[in-house]
Symmetry: D2
Subunit: 126 residues, 4 copies
């Protein structure tokens, strides 16, 4: 099976969902990182959110380049994005009571994990 | 073991090497993507280089945030970066004869893989 | 007037419009850059789209950091974003007949210019 | 004068200096933003550093795409980068006594301003 066929057989709905979920997650993480920066003891949360924002940005960019659709790198990046979103969600969940921004960030991370997982599942069925 | 101790026990030389190798690889990939984008039939190579540039940029940014040092996300991103660099190196290697930019890109990808692998090894020894 | 007051007096609708327009423009530019890459003679268009995507990404990120709201840097970046979107729109407009992706990109660049211009106007009225 | 000639007449030393200065400034700003994010009351400094890092990253990426070399967008982005580096340098200068990271960041911002200004001067002489 050629690389080109990977693209043509991909679940376009799953791809569109990853793009939308990464875009929303990036924005939520950026705002959460900014909100947490400068609060005493919240430096780790700010850094994890900034890392998650960068990773979602890159994941989205890769999805927006159909010509670069290649299985190994795509699977590895989806798995990395899921790992990062899980860490960020778990961290921000502990601050939900005191921060609406953190609550929104945790929700966006969770949705992004689901979208990436669905994409992985779709790729494994090709 | 706390997250903080992960950072303090990390091999600082390995981290500095990842930062330098990712920075060099990002620059080489950006130039290769630009060069290939103007050549007929080289769209796939251009897209893989652009993906690799974005992933190295994000990997480097994560290394530059000591407060966000967290094992699971870091290991997953290092593995993703290695996978992407391997794909980009393999693609660009096939164009080395006709393009000095591609040759430089393949070399930078290879060095970046090595630096990320060394960092993974160092993390597993903590 | 303190920096904090700049933020509090800002037109929140204008800011939200810039974020949405930059996000849409980044995505359209990414896809157009990928589509153009590898087509004979379209390297310049691909590069301008890639530049515009990166600039819109950065513009959006700055809007998502309320604590970094500072007049001089914000005005200069809005002006740079408008200049870049104009160049990209003018280039992609010339390829609208042959490419639906270029047509979408030109439209997104135009909308982004308008959103950034409205934001500049709102800032000058503060 | 065609766009291609802009590139061929450009001062290659000035371009290489901008790339190096932006790369160094991005790294210094990333580390300063991370360091400040964990300090109470330093949220504004962290956000300005994060903005400056993103802008230097984009400026560097544009320089690494020779095919996208276009006068209006390049001049506007160089001017925006200078404005941002000035704001970040001024902010970080006030924290030099208490933070070596801030001192390094202020120095890197100053060097980046100089490199961008030299590039603008070189472009105006073409």
């Amino acid at each position: 099976m050629s690389d080109t066929s990977i693209m043509s057989q991909m679940d376009m709905t799953a791809m569109a969902n990853v793009i939308d979920a990464c875009s929303a997650c990036m924005q939520a993480c950026m705002m959460c990182a900014d909100s947490m920066a400068g609060m005493e003891g919240m430096g780790k949360c700010a850094a994890l959110c900034a890392n998650c924002a960068d990773m979602c940005d890159t994941m989205m960019r890769m999805m927006l380049r159909p010509m670069g659709m290649e299985r190994d790198s795509m699977v590895a990046m989806l798995e990395a994005c899921i790992a990062m979103c899980r860490v960020c969600r778990d961290e921000c969940s502990t601050h939900m009571q005191m921060s609406e921004t953190a609550a929104m960030c945790a929700t966006a991370c969770d949705a992004c994990m689901t979208a990436c997982q669905d994409m992985l599942t779709a790729m494994r069925n090709v």
